[in-house]
Amino acid sequence: MKIRHSLTGNEAMAEAMRQINPDVVAAYPITPQTEIVQLFSNSVADGKVNTEFVTVESEHSAMSATIGASAAGARAMTATSANGLAYMWEVVYIAASMRLPIVMPVVNRALSGPINIHCDHSDTMGARDSGWIQIYSENSQEAYDNLIQAMRVAEHSEIQLPVMVCMDGFIISHGMEVIEMEDDDTVRKFIGEHKANYSLLDVKNPITMGPLDLQDFYFEHKKQQAEAMKNSAAVIRDVAKEWEKLTGRSYDMIEEYRMEDAEIAIVAIGSATGTAKVVIDGLREKGVKAGLVKIRVFRPFPKEEIAKALANTKAVAIMDRAESFADFGGPLFRDIRASLYDHDVRPKMVSYVYGLGGRDVMPEDIASVYADLERLVKGEQLPMLNHLGVRE
């Protein structure tokens, strides 16, 4: 049974967590994520879940306690943002290396400084090599759907990798929209019971987790991680298909919007893609063949899908809500350029870093990017790297 609710992104995530009913949640507050665990703790206090809620003294402890619970065989979650993610950095890698199926909402926020609490992707983009699967959400509906699907992906016996489910701070986390929720039973049946491959609390089968791993075996364990990440793409697609059958809402690694005959395209992640869709509709009415590729799953990187989607375009703008300070565009720009390297016909490709520290990206800003792409198609030169909307 579907239930329609008007919810903020944070409320949607907290409701998904209530339906998931994890065994353990260890969390520390940080803006703009705080509301998720605060609302979830209400569910704990009201007896709506059976969760052991651990109030820890830092994000490093939040992730450490979550790792401990997961190693014990529990379904364990936490949530964070920006500097909180940075503070748990060391153990973020350990969660992935220990192959613990932890699912963590991350509400994207600028990684200071100067201090800023608003949206950009500098926090999770920094964690792109940590061995976590990364799924990004355009709106509250996707945040809800992605969080539930992430449980199945993480806990799949062949995958056993942690998942970050990301959504834009304030723009989505504090913006209210109508979303469709499934009823508790449907969600609980969909995610099923968590059966850990190993448990530290299984005293009849004592095991050691996280031992010293030196030159002779460490590399083999990294290869296993890389292989699990590679195999996770198929699982992500399968879980999405099953979710679609149940809910009618479809998901894939990427979403193509009006790409069938697109000559110019934007590739972006998160809430800005919603804005881009509106701009595209306007441009299409004027006869401009504009399209959008939205990245839903950033790790593992959907290189083939992206290359295929962009194959027939003439010019593409890759929009990164994070500055890499490499003087070579953002992380998405570089990954996409690399994805097209083996293709004989490649579109022209430029990088736009945008929206840092919560700077609004308005329809006019997106329209200006498409205007740039039209000039590029006509043969005009454009700089490879651009900072969209910054005052010159």
Binding site: N197, Y198, N205, I207, T208, M209, G210, P211, Y218, E220
Partner: protein, 104 residues
């Protein structure tokens, strides 16, 4: 307890448990650490009063005890730290450290 399985050196990534998990207990027994030793404790049965201080303090569980009596030292695992000789009471001194080379 599940059967002890030792992973052979040279096993491929497909053959080993994920994440370095050691899926059985007691595998340290298979790992002989005795060859790290530069000094070696010698136990004198005649002097020993079997107070078992050495057994309590030994960090490698290498003092072998049977029926409440010290019966020897597990040289496969003793690293020669000398704690046993140090905690052996002054009036007893049933444990003395010798250089590993002296004995060879």
């Amino acid at each position: 307890m599940s059967e002890k399985k030792v992973i052979p050196a040279g096993a491929t990534w497909k053959e080993i448990p994920v994440a370095g998990i050691i899926p059985t207990a007691g595998t340290a027994q298979e790992f002989k650490t005795g060859d790290w030793r530069t000094r070696k404790p010698i136990h004198d049965e005649k002097k020993c009063i079997n107070c078992l201080r050495c057994w309590i303090y030994c960090p490698d569980a290498s003092i072998m005890v049977k029926d409440g009596k010290v019966i020897g030292i597990d040289y496969d695992h003793c690293k020669g730290c000398g704690i046993c000789a140090n905690v052996c009471p002054d009036k007893v001194k049933a444990l003395t450290m010798i250089a590993q080379s002296e004995e060879e």
